[in-house]
Amino acid sequence: MVNTTTGRKKDDSAAVFTQKASLVSAFVHDVKDRTGAMDKTLELLAQKPPLDPQMASGKKRDPSEKILAAPNLDHDGFQQLSDQCRAFPHIHLIRDRLRNFPGGIDMGVTTADFGIADTGTLVINSNDEQTRLATMLCEVHVAILAVSDIRETALSMTKELEILVRQKGSYTAFVTGASRTADIERVLAIGVHGPLELHIILVEEK
C-alpha cells in the first residue's frame, strides 16, 4: 500500500504495518502531528452511532452525550484534547474512574507504545487500570501511534518489550484488530467482549 500523502515506500515498516493491520479489519489513518490526531479522533467520535449499553449504569445519561475516555494521554495531550472538545457540545471527556461505566463507553483514545509491522500489532503499556478499561469497555478504540515507534517484528524488539514486561505489576497488551470470535460455525464476528472497532492513527511527527 503506497500512501500518496506521506509518500511512503511499499516496504517501509509503516506501510507493512498499515497493510497487516488492515487485514485484521483495523482502520489506519495517517496524520501529520498530534493536533491532526486529536482532530481525527473527534471526527471519528462525531460519526459514531450512539452507545449500545451492555448493562444499566448507575445514573441515567443524556442519550445524545458521547463518552470519550483518554486515560493515558500525557498532561499536554489531555489538555489539547480537552480544548478541542469544547467545539463539540455533547462530548463527555473522562480520564479516570472508568469502572463507573460498566455498560460501556463510546470511545477510548490511548497512545500506543509500539507498533509491530509484521502482524499489525499495537503494544500498549496497560499497567494502569484506567488504560485497560478504556481499551476494553469502549465500543471504538482509537490508538495513537508514532511512525518512529514501529518495529519490524516482535522478536526484533525483544529488548524493548522486556523493559515493559519485566516491571513489577506490568500488564502489557498486544492488540491486533478489534475483538473477534469464530466460535459459532467458524464464521468471523467482530466485537465480542472488547471493542467493536479499532482505529489506529499513525502520527508522522512524534
Binding site: P102, G104, L164, S170, E185, V187, A189
Partner: protein, 719 residues
C-alpha cells in the same frame, strides 16, 4: 462419558456422530478451509524451520523444568504473587476452591483454559456452591449445554447457529434469531454483568516466563482481559509444561501457535502479566494474584524418554484440524478432554487407561497430525506406543495376540495365508474373479462396505522363479520387498513391475526369507512381534549384494525406512540404519534412479484422465509428492489433480476392520473427491490403498477404475 465404556458402546457413539449431518458438513468444510488458511498464514515462511525452533525451545524447557519452576516461583513471589504447586488435579481444585472460600468469593468468571477442563475445575467449584461462568463464547455455549468442548480452540464447533439460537432463547427468555452477529452480541450483553459482578477471575496461561515471572495469555474475544481486570482476585491455572525461560522464547512459539490454530497471524490479544496489577477496588490498590502450577502427571511424562515430547504440545489443536477421523466423528468422539491426536495420547496420562483404551485405536496412522504439529511431536508413533502400553498393562486382545504370534513365524503366517486361499474358494464370485462374494464369518455385515479381494491362487513368491530373468551387466541390482498384501493378494502389481525391471536391465532378487514389514503388528500394539519380523527381514536381505531395496507398497517403504530403525535401536541400530538407507519406494526408483523416459507400453491405454491417490506413507511418510504425477504423464496419460489427493483413504490396516463405519465414511469422501476431479482412472502406490479404493469403487459403482502405478506403467498384455 463414563470411564468404563466398552468398545461396542464407543462404536455406537461413533455411529451416532456419523449420522449427524450438520456435524459432518461443518467438519468437512472446516477441514478444507483450515488447510487453505494455514497455508496462507505461513506464506513465505520456512515452516519446518519454525517448527524445529519451537520443538527445540520446548524440549529444552521440559528438560530444565525444575529449574525454570524454581526461578519463576522466586520471581513471582517477589512480585507479590501467591504461588501454589499442585501435584494432582484434586490438589489444584482444592487450592482454587480454598482461595475462593477464604476470600469470601461467590461469583467467578473464567476465560478458556483446557487445563481447567483437564481437572474438571468447574464441577469442583460448583459443588462448593460457587457460581462459575465461562466467558469465552464457545466455552459459555458448551457450559450452558452441560457439555465439554469438542475442539481445543473452537469448543462449540459441533453446534449450528440454530442450536445456539435456541439455547440463547432459553437463556434470555426472548426469541433469538439464528444470525451469528446478533448471537455474538447476546453473549456480549449477557456476560457483561457477570464480569462486573465477579469476585474472582480464573484464567489459564499459554506461557509462563521464568526470567521475569510473567504469564502470557493469547485470546481473541477480549474476555481474558476483563477476567484479569475487573475482579479483585485473579487465579491463573498453569501446567508446568507452559514454563519457558524468556520472553523471546514465548514470542517464537507465538509465531506459530495462532497460525496453526486458526490461520491467524496473531490473536487479537496477547496479554503479558507480571505480578498483581493495579486494581482500584482493593484497599492495597493491587489485585490479589495466585498462580497454581499443575503437575498431574507432567513430571512423569517429562522423565519418560519416549513420551517427554508430548509436553512440546502448545495446544494449537492443529492435530485435530487435519485428522481424517476427527473430521468424520467430531471432538467428543475423538478425545476425552483433550481432543485430536494429542488427546489420544494425553488421555492415557491425565485421565487413565480406561478412558484411553478405545480412543487410542481410532487412528488410521496417516501422519497428517505429525506433518502440522507446532511442537514437532511424532504423534502417530506415540499413539501406537500408548496402544502397546495399554495392551501390555491390560492384556492383549486375542485377535491382536494371534496376529503377533502368527507374524513372528513367517512359515506359519504364509502357510495360514495359503490355507485361507483354499478356504475362501466357495465364497469367490464366479463372474468377477478378484472379489470375495460373501465375507467370511469373522466379519460382521458392516465390514461389507467394500468388496474384498480374494487371496491369489499362486502367491508372488511362487511365481518369481518363472518371471526372473537374470540381467547381464545390470544397471542396478535390487532386492524386491513384496510386503504381504502384494505377495499374496495382488501379485499382479509385482508382475507388472517385473516387466519394467526387465526392460531396463535391472537385476532383481527376491529374498525368500522376507516376511511382513511389521507395520500391521505395530498398528495393533504388538511391538515385540514387530521387532521380531524386523530382525527377520534384516537377516533375509544381504545388503552388500543389492543397490536398493525396492517396494511397491508405500506403507512397507515408510515403515522399513522410519519404523524399523526405531524398533531396533537397542538391538541392531547400525544394520537397521544401513537397511533403511537402501529402501526406496517404487515410483522414486523408476523415475529418479532408473530415470525412465516417456515409456508407453505397446497396446497400453493412453490419454486417460488419471487422478492420483497419494498414500499417507508416501507423501508424509517419505516426503514424495510429485514423482508419481510425472510417471502418470510418462505413461501417456493425463494427470488430473484431485483436491484432497494427500488425504487418507481410510484404510489404515486394522483401523478399517476395527472401525469399519468410520473407514467407510472417509473412503466415500475420498471417492467423491476423485469423482469431482473428473478422472477415468485412479492410480495409487500402496496395495492397502488399492484394496480400500478399488473395493469401495466397485461396491459404490463408481465410474473410474483403480490400479497400482506399476499396472499403469506396465499393463498386462491381454488387456
Amino acid at each position: 462419558m463414563e470411564s468404563h465404556e466398552s468398545l461396542k458402546s464407543y462404536k455406537n457413539r461413533l455411529d451416532d456422530a456419523l449420522d449427524n449431518r450438520f456435524l459432518r458438513q461443518a467438519m468437512d468444510k472446516f477441514a478444507v478451509a483450515y488447510r487453505a488458511s494455514r497455508e496462507n498464514a505461513f506464506a513465505c515462511m520456512d515452516v519446518a524451520d519454525l517448527i524445529q525452533q519451537v520443538a527445540d525451545i520446548k524440549a529444552a524447557a521440559i528438560a530444565d523444568s525444575k529449574a525454570l519452576l524454581d526461578r519463576f516461583v522466586k520471581k513471582a513471589k517477589a512480585h507479590g504473587v501467591h504461588v501454589h504447586l499442585a501435584d494432582t488435579a484434586e490438589d489444584a481444585n482444592r487450592i482454587i476452591g480454598e482461595i475462593a472460600q477464604k476470600s469470601g468469593s461467590k461469583k467467578i468468571v473464567k476465560s478458556k483454559s483446557m487445563t481447567a477442563e483437564e481437572i474438571h475445575l468447574n464441577r469442583w467449584l460448583e459443588n462448593l456452591g460457587l457460581e462459575v461462568t465461562e466467558t469465552d463464547l464457545g466455552e459459555w455455549i458448551v457450559q450452558l449445554r452441560k457439555e465439554g468442548p469438542s475442539h481445543m480452540v473452537m469448543p462449540a464447533i459441533h453446534l449450528s447457529r440454530f442450536q445456539v439460537a435456541d439455547l440463547f432463547s432459553d437463556v434470555t427468555g426472548t426469541d433469538q434469531d439464528a444470525e451469528i452477529d446478533r448471537l455474538v452480541k447476546v453473549a456480549r450483553k449477557e456476560l457483561r454483568e457477570k464480569f462486573v459482578e465477579a469476585d474472582m477471575g480464573i484464567t489459564g496461561a499459554n506461557y509462563a516466563l521464568a526470567d521475569t515471572g510473567t504469564i502470557g495469555i493469547a485470546t481473541n474475544e477480549g474476555n481474558a482481559r476483563l477476567v484479569t481486570t475487573l475482579p479483585k482476585i485473579h487465579v491463573a491455572l498453569v501446567g508446568i509444561d507452559k514454563l519457558l525461560p524468556t520472553l523471546a522464547d514465548a514470542l517464537t512459539v507465538n509465531r506459530i501457535l495462532p497460525k496453526n490454530a486458526t490461520g491467524q497471524a496473531i490473536t487479537s490479544y496477547v496479554t503479558w502479566i507480571t505480578g498483581p496489577s493495579e486494581c482500584t477496588t482493593t484497599p492495597s490498590g493491587k489485585r490479589e494474584m495466585h498462580i497454581v502450577f499443575l503437575d498431574n502427571g507432567r513430571k512423569k511424562i517429562a522423565a519418560d524418554p519416549v513420551f517427554s515430547q508430548v509436553l512440546q504440545c502448545v495446544r494449537c489443536g492443529a492435530c485435530a484440524n487435519v485428522c481424517p477421523v476427527y473430521r468424520m466423528v467430531g471432538g467428543h468422539q475423538m478425545g476425552h478432554i483433550y481432543i485430536g491426536a494429542i488427546g489420544l495420547i494425553t488421555t492415557y496420562f491425565f485421565h487413565g487407561m480406561e478412558n484411553a483404551k478405545n480412543l487410542v485405536q481410532n487412528c488410521t496412522n496417516c501422519g497428517a497430525c505429525k506433518a502440522v504439529c507446532a511442537g514437532g511431536i511424532d504423534l502417530p508413533h506415540l499413539i501406537k506406543e500408548i496402544h502397546t502400553r495399554i495392551q501390555d498393562e491390560a492384556g492383549h486382545p486375542l485377535q491382536s495376540l494371534l496376529l503377533g504370534k502368527v507374524l513372528k513365524s513367517r512359515k506359519l503366517f504364509h502357510s495360514l495365508l495359503r490355507t485361507a486361499h483354499l478356504a475362501q474358494k466357495p465364497l469367490l464370485d464366479k463372474k468377477e474373479k478378484p472379489y470375495l462374494r460373501h465375507l467370511p464369518m469373522i466379519f460382521s455385515s458392516d465390514h461389507n462396505f467394500r468388496r474384498l479381494p480374494a487371496i491369489a491362487d499362486v502367491p508372488f513368491r511362487d511365481r518369481f522363479i518363472k518371471l526372473h530373468q537374470p540381467a547381464k551387466n545390470p544397471g542396478f541390482t535390487i532386492a524386491l520387498f513384496s510386503g504381504c498384501v502384494q505377495d499374496f493378494v495382488y501379485p499382479e502389481h509385482l508382475e507388472a513391475a517385473m516387466k519394467g525391471f526387465a526392460q531396463h536391465n535391472i537385476h532383481v532378487t527376491f529374498p525368500m526369507g522376507q516376511s511382513c514389514c511389521g507395520l500391521p503388528a505395530v498398528s495393533m500394539g504388538e511391538k515385540s512381534a514387530a521387532r521380531d519380523v524386523a530382525l527377520q527381514n534384516l537377516d533375509a536381505i544381504d545388503l552388500d549384494k543389492v543397490d536398493y531395496i525396492v517396494t511397491l507398497c508405500a506403507s512397507c517403504a515408510s515403515h522399513l525406512t522410519h519404523g524399523v530403525p526405531k524398533l531396533l535401536k537397542d538391538y541392531a541400530p547400525e544394520k537397521a540404519a544401513a537397511f533403511a538407507d537402501k529402501v526406496i519406494p517404487y515410483s522414486v526408483f523408476m523415475n529418479d534412479i532408473v530415470g525412465i523416459a516417456s515409456d508407453v507400453s505397446a497396446g497400453a491405454d493412453v490419454g486417460r484422465k488419471t487422478a492420483f491417490h497419494s498414500p499417507c506413507h508416501l507423501c508424509r511418510g517419505l516426503g514424495v509428492h510429485n514423482t508419481p504425477h510425472e510417471l502418470i504423464e510418462k505413461s501417456g496419460n493425463q494427470y488430473v489433480p484431485a483436491v484432497e489427493e494427500e488425504t487418507c483413504c481410510g484404510f489404515g490396516g486394522s483401523f478399517s476392520t476395527t472401525f469399519p463405519a468410520v473407514s467407510n465414511e472417509i473412503l466415500t469422501r475420498k471417492l467423491d473427491d476423485v469423482t469431482e476431479s473428473g478422472a477415468d482412472l485412479l492410480v495409487t502406490e500402496c496395495p492397502g490403498c488399492v484394496l480400500q479404493l478399488r473395493g469401495g469403487a466397485a461396491k459404490q459403482g463408481r465410474k473410474f477404475t483403480v490400479c497400482h502405478l506399476s499396472e499403469l506403467l506396465y499393463p498386462p498384455m491381454e488387456h
